[in-house]
């Protein structure tokens, strides 16, 4: 058996990540994220303009519309990971777990990235960007205008497609949308800040006690509800609303499965890199990686279960409004992306994570976690990007195009920008407090974990 960790192995003031060690990385990611964000906002805002049917204007609007979708894809990718961090934090506190005390601070740091991500969502507040992404907003603005009764106006519009919006206008209207959008970030942002604050306060209490620990557990209860509501409706407002006629009751769970899986992959990567840099040596062992690997495995299966259920029920019931999502994603080459999710997002990680000994090998897990994150990007791509072709209406030789040539450049640039920004805030959180709650009464239980 390995050496028994005692309180002598835990530094009195906790382990702190040396800023000098990551200063360079943080600086670069901050510059990349910041510059990318500023250019994206300028491009999306000033370049967008209002759509015009004349040829040259339309070409420019195709490019802007295309980039608006790239931006949504990239931002939603990092949002799911930060949301997953919130989930693991609340779950760890709520379930009164002992095993993960030494990795809990990483969960809190990951979750606390969420409120900062609002700045990447700023472009979504401009009508210049909204007009490409969310068709219902354009319809609402065109049809309702200054009319006092939105429902009546939509119901008596000459375009029958808008009658469907009349039934949903209580939820899909710009005022409520804006209110919701701010509530998500303020609400969940506040709760993850609060729970993390309790945890950090315990590190520096003059009279060590469990007061903060119990407070964190207590407040994690309704935080979990806030998390569930935020994740579900954020997914609805940003992604499901890309096509307002489509609906799926599984969609929130589907996003949740992906975010829980991928934030766990990020946590494993963080743990491994911190250990390589010489931290967490005494408190995190291969047993922790084993448990986190098991959670990754569980959520790989859960993701497959939920995404298949969504597909299966829609495919079986064959209702016009519902099938559109999958029809679009199985047209032309999108079919290959859909199929790749089955085999590469589910089957391959499932088989790779099946054995217990591979989950304990950091080298293997680094590769696998990066792969899982890559497949998650493909998953989000598959949710967002197929809507781009029909939305920006590029027509070549009288044929509407599903795929816009060269648009992948924008996708990659947007992804690099947001991931760099995400990294910047994550590193900021990691350096702002001790790396693990060294005064938590169960830190030794966690350090001596055996499973």
């Amino acid at each position: 058996m390995a050496h028994q960790v005692t309180s002598k192995d835990i530094p009195t003031n906790g382990e702190h990540l040396e800023i000098s060690k990551i200063a360079k990385l943080q600086f670069i990611s901050g510059i990349v994220g910041g510059v990318g964000l500023i250019f994206s906002i300028i491009y999306l805002w000033f370049g967008g303009g209002v759509e015009d049917s004349s040829t040259s204007e339309h070409e420019s609007s195709v490019a802007h519309g295309s980039y608006a979708f790239s931006w949504l894809f990239a931002v939603f990718f990092i949002l799911t990971i930060a949301l997953g961090g919130c989930f693991w934090t609340f779950l760890h506190n709520l379930s009164n777990s002992g095993w993960g005390t030494s990795v809990r601070r990483m969960m809190e740091n990951l979750g606390f990235v969420f409120p900062f991500l609002f700045i990447f969502c700023i472009p979504f507040l401009f009508p210049q960007v909204q007009q490409y992404l969310w068709e219902w907003m354009t319809s609402y603005r065109d049809v309702v205008g200054d009319s006092s009764n939105a429902k009546e106006a939509l119901l008596h519009d000459k375009n029958p497609h808008n009658h469907l919006l009349a039934a949903k206008v209580f939820y899909l209207n710009p005022t409520f949308w804006l209110a919701r959008f701010f509530t998500y970030f303020i609400g969940l942002g506040f709760f993850i800040w609060l729970v993390r604050k309790f945890s950090i306060a315990q590190d520096t209490e003059t009279k060590p006690s469990t007061k903060n620990l119990f407070a964190a557990r207590k407040h994690s209860s309704w935080s979990m509800i806030v998390f569930g509501v935020t994740l579900t409706f954020l997914a609805l407002d940003l992604v499901m609303a890309l096509d307002f006629s489509w609906f799926s009751t599984m969609f929130g769970v589907y996003i949740f499965a992906g975010s829980a899986l991928n934030s766990m992959a990020v946590l494993i990567l963080t743990g491994i890199f911190l250990q390589r840099a010489g931290y967490l040596k005494n408190v995190v062992t291969q047993e922790h990686y084993h448990i986190m690997g098991k959670l990754c495995f569980a959520f790989t299966v859960f993701w497959a279960y939920v995404s298949f259920s969504q597909f299966f029920l829609i495919w079986y019931a064959n209702i016009t409004e519902e099938t559109r999502y999958f029809l679009l994603r199985n047209t032309e080459n999108w079919n290959l992306v859909s199929l790749s999710l089955v085999f590469m997002h589910f089957a391959l990680p499932f088989l790779a994570l099946l054995r217990s000994d591979v989950k304990k090998k950091p080298k293997f897990m680094v590769g696998l976690c990066c792969y899982i994150l890559f497949m998650h990007a493909v998953d989000v791509y598959h949710m967002v990007i197929p809507e781009r072709g029909p939305s920006v209406e590029l027509v070549v030789n009288h044929a509407p195009q599903l795929w816009i040539g060269g648009s992948w450049v924008g996708d990659i640039l947007a992804l690099i920008t947001t991931v760099a920004g995400f990294l910047f805030f994550y590193l900021r959180n990691l350096t702002s407090a001790a790396l693990y709650p060294h005064r938590d009464p169960r830190i030794l239980e966690s350090a001596n974990l055996h499973n």
Partner: protein, 185 residues
């Protein structure tokens, strides 16, 4: 009283606490015994390592069981729904693309067969159910459900010897060493 010959089951030694049992188990393991066991009122963490127990072969059985269930489901659904009597529902195809509709059946049968293999495989590997165990012949053994810890080394083990094994058990801290004889008919 009959004069029939009783079979020797093995030696039983009592230990005071879990840590003694743990240390003794390591020594018995190092002495090279294979057919022996530890008995304790509650599960002891890491005792399987101390006893040198290898990984069970049950997972391989379960894999084969699950695979059987999976293949059964495919065969059952495919031959009946596509081969023998194609059922056309809502204009859906009756060919390889129908497979999506069979997923729940495939999933459930995989789980069911794996579950059965776990249950029956575990019973078989443990040699259960059985009416009696020779070790119940020992009077002191009943305290294993209360406050005592035991190690029993079976006479079937190739390293077993009437004197040396007894001496070994005494050496490693065993008390009340008893030769247990099988009293079942």
């Amino acid at each position: 009283m009959s004069t029939k010959v009783r079979r020797v089951y093995g030696y039983l030694a009592e230990f005071k606490n879990a840590s003694q049992l743990y240390k003794a188990a390591e020594k018995v393991r190092d002495a090279g015994f294979k057919k022996w066991d530890c008995y304790s009122p509650y599960p002891i963490h890491g005792l399987d390592d101390a006893m040198g127990i290898k990984r069970s072969i049950l997972p391989y059985f379960v894999f084969i069981g699950g695979l059987t269930g999976f293949l059964t489901a495919i065969t059952l659904a495919y031959t009946t729904q596509v081969g023998l009597y194609p059922t056309i529902v809502q204009g859906k195809p009756a060919n390889i693309f129908t497979t999506a509709a069979f997923f729940p059946v495939m999933f459930e049968l995989t789980i069911l067969f794996s579950g059965f293999t776990v249950f029956f495989g575990l019973l078989a590997l443990m040699g259960l159910p059985r009416w009696n165990h020779p070790i119940f012949a020992s009077k002191q053994f009943s305290r294993v459900t209360d406050d005592k810890f035991f190690i029993a080394i079976e006479a079937r083990d190739s390293k077993f010897s009437a004197e040396a094994t007894k001496a070994l058990l005494g050496e490693i801290g065993g008390a009340n060493i008893e030769l247990v004889e099988d009293d079942s008919e």
